[in-house]
Symmetry: D2
């Protein structure tokens, strides 16, 4: 366990939901500098996990890896990546979901087993990992981390004893797993990409020259100059060995359930997931809000950064002027510290400041992507009001959060959700807005009409994917 | 000299002009935690200087200071500011203009002289510092830094020998100085704010309870919860002693010449400078461009972050749709490294990615705030084109840079400016746009109609402020 | 894997053998500050392992640990140990023997298994760990480190499934192990100390108030103000639970074989091992050399630090004057760097300088504890000669190294040992001495007459302990 | 000011006097790697100053320097010295005497003045620096550090205006100075060494090939493989320009007064100062104690490290057996931390442990080099007693400290000295010894019969050097 941050009282002004992880991998067929390509790609996936990161490179001698708590630029600040030579590499960025925020849980997860090395990068959450772990422990297994990925490694290793190939072993394990997983796995010779049968988390494939690459989001392909090929399909396993690519589709064909919140908030707007542009989905969410709640107002203000695109959509549909009403300080990172509670009130505008010039005397339509606990929304509404807004109408480009997520995001349990057991009017009163409107549950799937997959919206609807 | 960064080959994708410095000070009359207030304010001024920063606190025993190379969150990461007790404090963020990028040049600049301590934070550039320094050296002075602020300290110290008060000494020195200066000075008992007679750099005054504060920009007052009182006037000196404030206006009344580029690019949009909202000035720049160059196109795209507001202005005026066309990676900081030149081409989209969904097949009006060397513009235009734009028309919300700046920004000498000796058409060809338009010199001052001061636009016009 | 030291060309002037590890543990019965006591004790054991260190503390919630590459003062430099609350703690310092020099191999080794947590600190080397690891892998085990301690943890966990207690499980595992081990193990409730049946590595027990403590060497008990109780006997397991101590002697009674090189070099002179003072053993080694090789000379010079005591013994026995002839620079640590090979010759006296005043014109008897490769000895002899010695006679307080060690030290394989296939005269010629003398094999055990255990001297004699 | 160490409660078990500084310089005539030679030399001088260090290199472009708080291996840990190219270099290690422990006070002190650069490394203390500083301030000087070296720089700069050469300027300044100074100064072309007229601090000259080098102690010449030439004489100035060396002796010929405590404690035993071996001086001090106080006892024990040689001298003279009675932990550096006062008592043996085997039941003669406040002595005597000594007789190889030092060591003011107003018997009682003996004042100079200079012993005698 790493013992860390001395500053206990950092303010978390961004009380946002967190995506759990991002993964990237490359099977080098072109004498490329693997480790540096992964390094660049992780920058493009950093929004999917800011707590820890790592890169593992495989060559003929085994695996070398570097991983630690911190952002990509912190963890690799003093690492000479040119020394990481190899013909395959995977990388990972991480928030903690299963497993606490400790160095042991940083990925890629690298092991030796009966057939040599295995390195795993995992985005998702194995819902039944406690049961699986308990079962393994009863057979004598020992666990050094609290991450569900260690459980996966065990299962692959055990299954490998009974099967002739690592891909068969992985395929055998898939039906044992409940939950979500987009996995990148390096065996001594192969790079293997696996997406869970429901396709809950995104995963796509690209190419640089003749080298295959995989990424959680297509924006990472752009970042490193790779060409987008296609999404890994729900249930599909892709095995790359040298320049050859093989698709194994044993677990394809189930009902799919990709996380809709990837489109609403998690993913980068320049990504395309399963055929759907994230940017277009957010614009559409704004338009749907406008259609459902056409309010008479003077200006539309998006909450930066994720509310800005939906605000554009709302403004375009209604013709109300879209203005910059909130300015975000880009330098306030995770280390901003305030020594005493008494001072916090003073610094309320340090991360987000309202632009009086745009707002004063105006009836404001404020667009945000979600309300979780309600504290952040309350603070923002106060800012807007103290900058002189005459009315504040808050539009949320998602339905009400009513249920916890078991598939890799940190939507909390119901008792921490402001929407639990409260009417919209009650929430509006708490937050301090003149009116409050959520995207209707019925229309949430309409924001992504081009997606080839269906969606999981259990956090809104409670309709958890069947048998999962 | 600090020897430092191992990574020599960091890419500087943002080849932008740099503001030189930001200052903040507080004369504590209310038992406030001075050092922490300065710390918070420096976050809000960080955009004015990312190379080094520092805080100095004065109490009855003298001055304690901490300063180093790095961002505010880096330099003060491991510093327990609660140990910095005092009744006055000043802070500084810095880019290097005069004086190289070394630890010795970090400010506040703290000295002892015949009357005790003196701490100085300086925003601006003393144009005749070489002459002044040489003269001082000929009298036996020694210099430990390459900063013009050390020269100021000497002049104040020497003049103080002949005058009964530090404010009189400073006042006597002002006429010796050519160039720009917004200064905060702590003597053992007084906090003194000085703005050069032309008001070239901004400086404003606020209050927290009964404590006076000064800041380069009003956004820093917002950040710490202070009330804006008024701008320090060009040529004015304000002396705060305990709760008392005294204005000395010996050097007021000259022709004023505030840097117009503060409004175009340097300042934060939520700041108000000399009565003019920066946000409004940028909107106006966009509107003026629209008025001057009404081009038939499908979408308007602002270059993030500083081109976004002008793009709004342009779009509103013309009715052309304003879209998000470029996505900026917020995690690429100063430490992003690329080990070899050959790889740079690969990573061209890592910092800025184009949104095909918004641009493809469209005639794009691209709005940026300036073109210096042209390399960044060329790269951005390429991005837009490779995302499928049919036409690209670049509008620049400033006139052509033709002349170096001697007043505290790093507009380079003419031979590095792409606009030198080239027609607009020639530049357009180099950059690769279908058409290129600059805000006309005649209208540059119109972007800030509410400003109480006149403007310096020498970098565009060559009309350097008289005798300065 | 941690990627680390930029400086590849550090000189290793001390080309000495390395002890592998040191361990310390406390079962807190007195509300002591466990973690800080371990921290202090590790300073006293640092000579047993300078590459990595760690502390693990167990409380009702589980185990918290901090470990990393570096010396104790480096690894715990920024760690607030007061936050490590618990009722048991173990600590470890380490050189790499099995397992490379990586962060994953740092100890204590902390796992979860079917019965909760298990933390292990290990001094020694499991000779058959490759076979055991292979066998476990064939049952599906995965390995995250290259340390033999991970193998031990697996064996304990697997055996625990079949037995009612952890101590029984450990006891069952002991006969499977070949090699040396002094182990400290924390289960959720118990602190368990185990010494291998041959007692190859030292381990002793002490008490602070009512709290039992265990340490590799008694000097660690002194350092923290604990009272020495007794050595843990070869083959003994001691289980401490609350204030109760239970001795399990299932594996006692075998032929013992404690490493004699602990007395010659590894251990601190203020330690007492199995009843024998290390300091007295070194004095005796000097006396035995004097008895065996009474040479006519002017002065006796010990090579600091470990040759100094034997030099005293030699001088006292012969009556020849014991002088300080070599001065060691205490500041040259592991980070001293020399940029080019060409410069190394220049800096030959930087770590060790000869005192002309003591040596010039003298016939010198030089006493050192061992010759491994011969390079260090050659360098020292040159120093002595260039300071003016007329004759140099080197006495080594150990027999010739002829065989590798499999029990936890880094005596290298025969082809790196200067003594292999060379006569004493040949070695003397290489090293450049007038005469060279080794302690005779027959007398090596005589240096420690008070030891309750017998000795392993396989590195000298080739007589490896039977069946081990 | 650097704000630093979080750990306030480090124990200072070594409550020893501190030498103030060490200097080293090289005028490169042979294409040597200047910076690395200085780096190596500073390791050999580290005992003269552990708080900060620095290296400055001069080339045709000016001076580059790196300096900071910390040991040589800490400060230069991450600095690539191969980038410090030049034809001259000076280095410095420092304890704080005048001037607090801050980064601003680290040396070499580098400035620009009317004639270009000037870099200064200073060992000693300018007694009248307050007066000189005040005078300079009254002429308009400003001071950025609290070091007396800044004052020197000013004086040289001011004097240079009136004189044709820097050496003449320095020579003119010498008579203004009271106190001690061994100075190395780099002007753009010359390396200048100056020793104060009384020769209070050591300074010697050597050569590597054709390059002249200067060092505080000759051990630094050995460390880098330089040949010792001669001492710089009291009052002498040596100017090296290219390969040429010029001696200026304007201030030679005064009564000399070298610090006798250099021989007793400060200097390294392998140094030779003004013709006197430091090692021999310490042996002689032990012999003189034996002659003056021939006590009947069983063993002689030196307090490591500095008491060990005097103990040898005492033992040889009396024939009493010299034993190792105290073992020092080499790993306890400046960062050892103890979180609470209550724990300190527990860790009393962590830095120094007594060897019962040598001491138990014995009448012990303990030899140390000084008693300042008495606390350290008391602690050591307790250790010796608790290890079973029957009697403890403490011999101090120096007279009683009765007076503060103004010449560059930190002998404190009289009210902190245990010897002030106390008889030897009273001190013995406080410290807890059976008898206590100090080297007589009359014989203190006899320890260094070969010295070409006379001695200052004002701290013992109160006889401060005339007019200084």
């Amino acid at each position: 366990m790493n013992v860390g941050h001395r500053w206990m009282n950092a303010i978390d002004i961004d009380n946002k939901l967190k995506e759990e992880c991002g993964v990237f991998g490359i099977r080098n067929a072109n004498n490329l500098d693997c480790a540096n390509i992964v390094y660049g790609a992780l920058y493009a996936l950093q929004h999917r996990g800011e707590e820890s990161c790592g890169i593992a490179v495989t060559n003929d001698d085994g695996t070398i890896a570097h991983k630690d708590l911190g952002l990509v630029n912190e963890v690799f600040d003093k690492v000479d990546l040119t020394r990481f030579k190899g013909n395959m590499a995977i990388g990972h960025v991480r928030y903690s979901t299963t497993g606490g925020n400790s160095r042991e849980n940083a990925q890629p997860f690298c092991i030796k087993y009966c057939k040599g090395i295995l390195a795993i990068a995992h985005n998702g959450n194995i819902k039944n990992s406690n049961e699986l772990t308990e079962e393994l422990a009863q057979q004598g297994a020992i666990f050094q981390s609290t991450s569900d990925t260690e459980c996966l490694a065990y299962l692959f290793a055990k299954e490998r004893l009974k099967t002739p190939s690592i891909e068969q072993a992985i395929s055998n394990v898939v039906p044992m797993l409940k939950g979500s997983f987009s996995l990148l796995i390096m065996s001594p010779k192969k790079l293997i990409a696996v997406r869970d049968p429901m396709g809950m988390r995104p995963l796509c494939m690209g190419k640089i020259d003749d080298s295959y690459v995989f990424a959680s989001e297509s924006c990472a392909l752009d970042a490193i100059g790779a060409e987008f090929i296609r999404d890994v399909e729900p249930g599909e396993m892709i095995v790359v060995s040298g320049k050859d690519m093989k698709s194994i589709r044993d677990h394809c064909g189930k009902k799919t359930a990709t996380c809709i919140f990837e489109h609403i908030y998690f993913a980068r707007p320049d990504s395309v997931i399963d055929g759907q542009s994230v940017h277009e989905a957010r614009l559409m969410a704004g338009r749907l809000l406008a259609e459902q709640y056409p309010i008479d107002a003077d200006v539309v203000v998006g909450v930066p950064d994720s509310g800005l695109i939906a605000a554009q959509g709302y403004a375009e549909y209604t013709g109300i002027r879209n203005v910059t009403g909130l300015i975000k300080n880009r330098y306030i990172g995770r280390t901003f510290i305030l020594p005493e509670q008494s001072q916090r009130e003073r610094f309320v505008k340090i991360k987000l400041n309202a632009l009086s010039a745009s707002i004063k005397g105006k009836r404001v339509i404020l667009i945000d992507d979600s309300i979780v606990r309600g504290t952040t929304s309350t603070r923002i509404v106060n800012l807007i009001r103290s900058a002189g807004a005459k009315e504040v109408h808050l539009m949320v480009s998602a339905p009400k959060f009513l249920n916890p997520c078991y598939y890799g995001t940190d939507v909390p349990s119901s008792d921490h959700l402001i929407a639990t057991n409260r009417t919209v009017e009650e929430i509006a009163k708490i937050i301090g807005v003149d009116s409050l409107h959520f995207l209707s549950l019925a229309s949430v799937e309409k924001i992504a009409p081009n997606s080839k997959t269906n969606f999981c919206h259990a956090c809104f609807s409670g309709a958890y994917p069947e048998n999962n």
